[in-house]
Point group: C2
Chain length 361, copies 2
């Protein structure tokens, strides 16, 4: 089959250096070494240090590797919540974390908004004894970004709660002050341009202490993915199970490449690409913005309503070698979603916007 | 670094065709397609069908993909046990499943033996209301195989219990009658010769019904990895989260290669290689069998006591290009463990045994 360029919001196009790194991985027998070997631990340590530099994670925060961001939703509830959690919900993924909390028997509350917008941040509505408060920095399903200042406001009003941040399709592009949050997580198949199969969970010592207290109070905190066990292994740069070592190696390599490029350059390019894509939607007669409020529009996942069935757009673009995403859930068939991740160069986004501008559907 | 041949009992040497399949995966953009796309679903379906042919899984059993065998221990307890489980324990891994059940608050019982042997199968000692009974077909930590006839005996004495089989480092080499078991699982970095990062869970409808009943009775069966959710997605050949699609693709390819070679050939070669390795231990003046009972000796993971520190063996063999495993847990430093998986050809095992025979430590 003819190769295409993936602009789907994850999995997406591989980071442009991954193919070379895969060859190196075969040469270095990365897929054959034991996950507790010195070689694998060195990849873990290097990848974690790179991540700390790249997105400015404080030295005393811990970086753990799990199987997916989906798993990390579950592990957060297991480890960090005895009774109450509170969730800002404005899309499929932020809602799913809330549903996980309910399925696990918690008193889960939510502030909800229509998709394409965000809920009002009313700190008075959040119970004072809420143990965890969740936000998605970037809602991949709707193309909405949550302003970090509003997150910091909630941190101030609820200093005892764990602030949990979904960084999927946000990190490393969107900047956040880690000293004002406690738990953050992402999967690698979005902005990091890696094959799927790895989730990264970043926590501070407040999270460790909370899970130890939960356990000491006689509540289950799970088995191999409990925070004390993640810490026990992670402090030796080891994982809690036989993990996807290849992906940790690739994350190490790609974060090295990103550090060499410079996070400022990546973020500046992201702004430029976002402007191009938003302008394309504004100007095109058969596309319109799904996210009405300009300042909430994501730089990494851009969503446009289509006047005709979105499959027509998807097929037309596919025939020209570009793969874009469909609308999510109820919006399937009515929208296209376009990823603008670090691997998508300015030139690639220009090519895509020029192509879309030339299409009349 | 110079390339070595891995005889570690998982991760181990890649199946000899994997490097070529990786190139194909890059070409086919396997790491870029969505995990719910037709392309990814076709890999799931094909891999599951291949597995059913290869190890003779009945048509009405379900094949699900998760992150690891470790995860599947946890999911089995979550989905299949309300109160009581019973575990045959004779090594690090069979014991760990028991520990998981206890951590999750179950009344877990066990029949235990010294490492290197197996517990007596006393069906009268298993409580009649035990919901799940677990066996490891092959204990990777000790090199012990559990006779399938003893498993069938327990099935007859306890027809209402779920019989759960750890097939890690056993499948596809060791044959079992799936109609006499309910749940079986393995990870792909052992006998299938794939990179780590994928667990395969095979269940029958009794397992699905048990989890539905557990849920209907008001007990939590978890979130995205509940059996009803695995079934809902799996019946469309989709996974419950953004999974390691690359590994499903590679599993499809390698099981195709194994079917072409023929499972009978693979199993016959395994017997021959096992005989070579066991004879080497019998004959060598500074090695001795860890597993006293000849009929319990594993064909895929061979364990030898060393008279000197096992690290000397590991280093000496490494200098000659062979990587073997250390003893597990308390046996670290006292044993070597050697994998004889389908990727390890007769000629390779002959080369290894000749080399070990020539070494005097």
């Amino acid at each position: 089959m003819a190769r295409k360029i993936f602009f789907t919001p994850g999995p997406s196009a591989l980071y442009f250096t991954v193919e070379e790194h895969l060859k190196q991985a075969v040469k270095d027998q990365v897929m054959e070494v034991n996950h507790r070997s010195k070689q694998a631990s060195a990849y873990y340590q290097h990848a974690a240090e790179n991540l700390k530099s790249l997105i400015n994670i404080p030295e005393d925060y811990h970086v753990f590797f799990l199987s997916s961001a989906t798993e990390i939703w579950e592990r957060q509830i297991e480890n960090l919540v005895v009774e109450k959690s509170y969730h800002f919900c404005y899309g499929a993924f932020s809602n799913r974390f809330y549903e996980f909390a309910k399925s696990l028997g918690k008193q889960a509350f939510k502030a909800e908004s229509k998709f394409g917008s965000i809920p009002e941040v009313n700190t008075a509505a959040i119970p004072n004894d809420t143990e965890l408060i969740s936000f998605a920095l970037n809602e991949t399903s709707t193309g909405v970004t949550f302003p970090v200042e509003d997150i910091y406001k909630v941190r101030e009003s609820h200093p005892d709660a764990i602030i949990a941040i979904d960084g999927v399709s946000a990190f490393p592009v969107i900047d956040i002050d880690f000293t004002k949050i406690d738990s953050a997580y992402f999967s690698v198949q979005k902005c990091f341009g890696l094959p799927a199969g790895l989730g990264v969970w970043i926590v501070n010592d407040r999270c460790i202490e909370k899970s130890l207290k939960k356990e000491a109070d006689g509540h289950s905190i799970g088995t191999y993915q409990s925070l004390p066990n993640l810490l026990k292994n992670g402090s030796k740069f080891q994982t809690t199970y036989t993990i996807n070592v290849l992906n940790i190696f690739l994350l190490m390599k790609v974060t090295t490449d990103m550090l060499n490029k410079g996070i400022d350059v990546i973020r500046r390019e992201s702004i430029y690409k976002g402007v191009l894509l938003q302008k394309m939607i504004s100007d095109h007669p058969s596309l319109s913005h799904f996210v009405a409020d300009e300042k909430l529009r994501s730089k990494t996942v851009v969503v446009a309503n289509t006047t005709t069935a979105s499959q027509e757009w998807i097929d037309e673009l596919s025939s020209r070698g570009f793969v874009v995403g469909n609308g999510y859930g109820d919006y399937k068939g009515k929208q296209i979603r376009i990823a603008s991740f670090p691997t998508h160069s300015k030139e690639l986004i220009e090519l895509l916007t020029d192509t879309i501008n030339s299409i009349r559907l």
